[in-house]
Amino acid sequence: MRASIVVLARRALRNAARRPQFLAPLVLFPSLFLALNVGGLERTTTLPGFPKVDGFLDFQLAAGITQSLLLGGVSAGIAVALDIEGGFFDRLVASPAPRSAIVLGRVLAAGVIAAFQVSYFLVLGAVFGVDVKGGVLGVLSVLAIGILAGTGFGAIGVLIALRARNASTVQGIFPLVFVVLFISSAFFPADLLSSPADAVAAYNPLSYIAEGMRHPIAFSNDVVALLEGLGAAAAVTAVALGLSLQALRGRLRQA
């Protein structure tokens, strides 16, 4: 089982590396958005109620990471949908490999790609002057929450692909990435969000994931924020994985 998961994860990573046109947008779009937010709205840090930060980039970096990880989930879903459309999925099902490895291998690959995405943004931040306040421990916290969340978003992508079975439908959820982000406190302090986004943000796991990564970057290591971030990421991953495996079973029953 473990060997099958690793082999399928390796295949997913190799395919991703071969098609940089699918990988590049995962960091390109959030980087552009990050630059735009910071360049256009840096004065908002002077608004009453905005927490004290060294700069708006310190505050926004976690939002960029979260956005990138969500796009990673869409990308994982598109890859699975392409496997289904191209017939590779059916060949995998017919092989002696454990069926759950099909989902787990892809989700593991999403976790590995998430590690690269988080590292990329931490380096990008460092280049533009972000000093991670939590130090090495803070960097490790950001990586832990980011990788776990990226794994969960990958599982959501796989779930949608197994249900939709075509790449264009999975691609169509791209605007939803922005919707779920906009109704969280990823981009702006929860206290300064407009209604009803502020009310929804309190229940949105993305708020806790983003805040969990933001604390060590912009403020300090905070056990509560870390645990909330890890908890939200773990919950997303567990639920999405469970539903993905269920969707796989449903699809196999139909086959």
């Binding site: 779009f29 552009l32 630059a35 256009g40 922005f178 981009f187 969000l193 407009s194």
Partner: protein, 254 residues
């Protein structure tokens, strides 16, 4: 001349037919700018409290951004559709027809201009429903003209890429180009509130003038001082990308 106009009309009709035949394909392009506008307003709405915004409502400030984003998305989608036609061989059949290449281009670009009114109208309706003040007929007419113009320029840019790469996989390049052009302007904040590097880019970027042209009426009054740079900028963009696209069309099959 009459025959050429008929060809342009037929190609424009074909482009518009896609909306009716595949409405699902048009939905994301229509919804995305509105989602983006509502999301930005919900998240960054309090930014309008900063001195420098000439309106207390952030939604009012970014209506124009959404309208131009819709134009950009429509232009990019035109390039993606052309790339699909190239992949499927339909474009080669079109090139074999006696219609001049510039006329073929005009038909495709014309359909993009008209289709750009769809997301703009939807977005404007949502914005007005949510309390944005009616900017007046002159401002609306000017905004529609500029939206159509920018969609034409974006379509020419995307067509240029479609002719160069001949695959739909070039879609992200088309989208990123229009995304950067529209947003690296005074999209989020007045010029004096932008950080230095973004202000420099916004000053160079001709789309800034187009954006300010669409924004007038929503924020402040319509003035000739804001209108002529917007019209000049959009005309210049169409001239530059249109010439390059015509050259690209003429090189096809050469």
């Amino acid at each position: 001349m009459k025959r050429q106009l008929r060809s342009i009309a037929a190609l424009m009709r074909r482009g518009l037919n896609e909306i009716l035949r595949v409405p699902g394909g048009a939905v994301p392009g229509v919804l995305a700018p509105t989602i983006f506008m509502l999301g930005l307003s919900a998240v960054f709405g309090k930014a309008a409290r900063l001195p420098g915004y000439d309106t207390a409502n952030f939604l009012t400030f970014i209506v124009a951004v959404g309208m131009l984003q819709g134009a950009g998305f429509t232009g990019a989608a035109t390039g993606v559709n052309l790339a699909r036609d190239i992949e499927q061989g339909w474009f080669d059949r079109l090139l074999l027809s006696p219609t001049p290449r510039a006329v073929l281009l005009a038909g495709v670009v014309g359909s993009a201009s008209l289709r750009a009114l769809l997301p703009a109208t939807f977005l404007l309706t949502v914005a007005l429903t949510l309390g944005v003040d009616w900017p007046g007929l002159l401002a609306i007419a000017l905004a529609a003209l500029l939206v159509m113009g920018l969609a034409a320029a974006a379509a020419c840019y995307a067509i240029l890429l479609a002719l160069r790469f001949r695959t739909q996989q070039a879609a992200p390049l088309m989208q990123v180009g229009t995304f950067v052009a529209v947003l690296f302007t005074t999209a989020y904040a007045p010029r004096e509130l932008l950080s230095d590097w973004l202000r420099t880019i916004a000053d160079i970027n001709p789309v800034t003038h187009v954006l300010e042209g669409v924004r007038q009426g929503f924020v402040g009054d319509v003035t000739w001082a804001t209108t002529w740079p917007a019209l000049l900028a959009v005309t210049g963009l169409i001239a530059v990308f249109g010439s390059l696209a015509v050259r690209g069309m003429r090189r096809q099959g050469a």
